[in-house]
């Protein structure tokens, strides 16, 4: 029983890590500009047009393995996990040799630091863990239900020590870029915020259309330009900083009637 416990102890770690990898890779693909993908392994090893597909393929394989490990005890999934981890080790070594500037991409965009011995060590340890789990009894959910805490903790600590991503995340939290340099929320999200503001409610009746004719972002503000029934411009500026954004509004006369702003700042 004791040996079985040890063998199955790392299954939860593997399942959680594979799922995290899937989620992070899908997030990298969804948000990913081509520039981001061009710096992440294993996508950098394939030609430009296959990068998205390569990362997606990895994510699907990880999701499949995680699901397989969780619900069945079939040796196919166990051996496939060993093979996947061993192949990852080889790919990371290759990546380090061919593209020393690229990140491993194991957890998507967070793993953008160049591949080091720690990342490679981690895949070696994961291969070992996967190898150990091959002979474990029962499917993964059983290991979740009755975890052997001390071995599980030991595994997590070893992996945490070998994960440069934890430091990257800590650094990102510490040195958060100011809002001028951060990518803003999508235009539709900001528009929804605007529509729940007092300034919007005060001017909504005067607008000729509900959709802005122009919208742009400058520094920490997103601007929405509308026309009102008098053919004047109604401009809303929604601050992108903070949770409760400030909304300002101005009515600007048409270009021939020179005297400009009748503006008043309004807060939500």
């Amino acid at each position: 029983m004791g040996v079985t416990h040890v063998l199955a102890s790392q299954l939860p770690v593997l399942i959680v890590l594979l799922s995290l990898g899937t989620v992070a890779k899908i997030a990298a693909i969804r948000s990913g500009s081509p520039g981001t993908l061009a710096q992440l392994g294993p996508a950098v090893l394939v030609p430009d047009r296959f990068r998205r597909a390569a990362l997606l393929c990895c994510a699907v394989a990880e999701a499949g393995l995680a699901a397989g490990l969780l619900v069945t005890a079939h040796p196919l999934f166990r051996w496939a996990t060993v093979a996947f981890c061993a192949m990852s080790t080889y790919i990371l070594l290759e990546l380090r040799r061919r593209r020393p500037d690229a990140g491993c991409g194991c957890f998507g965009e967070v793993s953008s630091a160049p591949v080091g011995w720690r990342s490679i060590g981690r895949t070696v340890v994961l291969t070992g863990m996967a190898g150990m789990s091959v002979w474990a009894e029962g499917p993964g959910w059983l290991a979740f239900a009755h975890p052997s805490w001390e071995y599980l903790l030991a595994g997590v600590v070893v992996l945490a020590l070998l994960s440069p991503e934890i430091e990257t995340l800590a650094e990102r939290a510490r040195y958060r870029a100011p809002c001028e340099q951060r990518r803003g929320p999508a235009e539709s999200v900001t528009l929804t915020r605007l529509r729940s503001s007092e300034a919007w409610q005060a001017h909504e009746a005067h607008l000729s259309t509900a959709e802005p004719y122009d919208s742009w972002r400058e520094l920490c503000w997103r601007f929405f330009a509308f026309r009102n029934h008098d053919e004047h411009d109604v401009v809303f500026a929604v601050s992108l900083a903070g949770r409760r954004p400030t909304v300002r509004v101005a009515v600007v006369g048409s270009e021939d009637s020179k005297p400009l702003p009748v503006y008043k700042p309004v807060s939500v």
Partner: protein
């Protein structure tokens, strides 16, 4: 989204934030103002040049005795061929020419393919708006270019200055030194009131156009999927925003609108070494006319600059 009137954005933004709307301007802190004149040579002698401007007008300009020209190499102004497209730097209210660049082009982009052994043919991907370009590196220029591009292979960046001769783009001079490995983004240092970096020029602008292509614009606003990336720690601005550019090397400054998405400039992490070493990263690409009026030399390819906005 289309841009009904990007100039109008400045007025609207100023009104809603309660600030004075600013207008594009140029100004020399010392020395006399420069004017850039572009056109096609109709007639040229050692002392006088007649050009046809892009609007179809004609300009007759005096060539200063100390004037120099570049047409793939230094050449006396009087030897320039009729029909060449020139950009000129003019003094004295723009009547006296002191520097002429003829048929000068700039090839900036990511290398797609490299062919040939002696004369090398390079295919470049110049970003989503500018498409692909093909350039030939003559054998005599290849050593000079390759030493500044340590990674001269597909997937890496390329930036060179050259001439267009008989419809062929020749790359002759390296614009800047490219780092051998892509640099990591700079650490966060807070928002500085003045950001320093390098400013380059590009030949994608219309002949008489003045303005800048800026890399840090929201991709959805500018329909530019590669935008929003920069090595210089830049803030987000919009197409239509006003950029104050100060040429540190020539002590000249100007305000100009952002007229295009400069996603190609955002990929570069190089430095300019025209006067001291600039911090890493390209801030913007200027139209040749704006670049020249700020005291820039087209064949040097860059100047050290500070920017502000508003």
């Amino acid at each position: 989204m289309s841009h009904p009137s990007v100039e109008h954005r400045r007025v609207l933004a100023a009104a809603v934030l309660g600030r004075e709307p600013a207008a594009p301007s140029t100004g020399a802190e010392d020395g006399e103002p420069l004017r850039a004149v572009t056109g096609e040579i109709r007639d040229i002698s050692p002392h006088l040049i007649v050009v046809e401007t892009p609007e179809g007008g004609e300009e007759r300009l005096i060539i200063a005795p100390w004037a120099t020209a570049w047409h793939g190499g230094d050449t006396p102004p009087g030897d320039l061929p009729v029909g060449a497209r020139v950009t000129m730097r003019a003094l004295r209210d723009g009547r006296v020419v002191e520097r002429i660049w003829a048929d000068t082009i700039r090839l900036t982009g990511t290398i797609v393919s490299i062919d040939g052994r002696k004369d090398i043919t390079v295919k470049l991907d110049c970003g989503p708006h500018r498409g692909r370009r093909t350039a030939i590196i003559p054998y005599r220029a290849s050593g000079r270019l390759r030493v500044r591009h340590p990674q001269f292979e597909p997937g890496y960046l390329f930036d060179a200055i050259g001439v267009r001769k008989d419809g062929v783009s020749l790359a002759l001079l390296p614009a800047t030194s490219q780092p051998s490995h892509p640099a990591p983004p700079p650490p966060y240092t807070g928002m500085q009131p003045n950001i320093s970096g390098t400013i380059t020029w590009s030949d994608i602008f219309d002949a008489e156009e003045r303005g800048a292509a800026y890399p840090m614009v929201e991709p959805s606003d500018a329909a530019c999927p590669d935008a929003g990336m920069s090595c210089a720690g830049l803030p987000y601005l919009a197409i239509g925003s006003l950029l104050h550019v100060r040429n540190v090397c020539a002590s000249r400054s100007a305000s100009m609108p952002i007229v295009a998405c400069g996603c190609v400039a955002g990929r570069f992490c190089d430095r300019c070494v025209q006067c001291g070493t600039s911090p890493r990263g390209r801030i913007a690409e200027l139209a040749p006319a704006s670049f020249v009026e700020l005291g820039g030399e087209l064949i040097d390819g860059c100047f050290n600059a500070q920017i502000g906005w508003g």
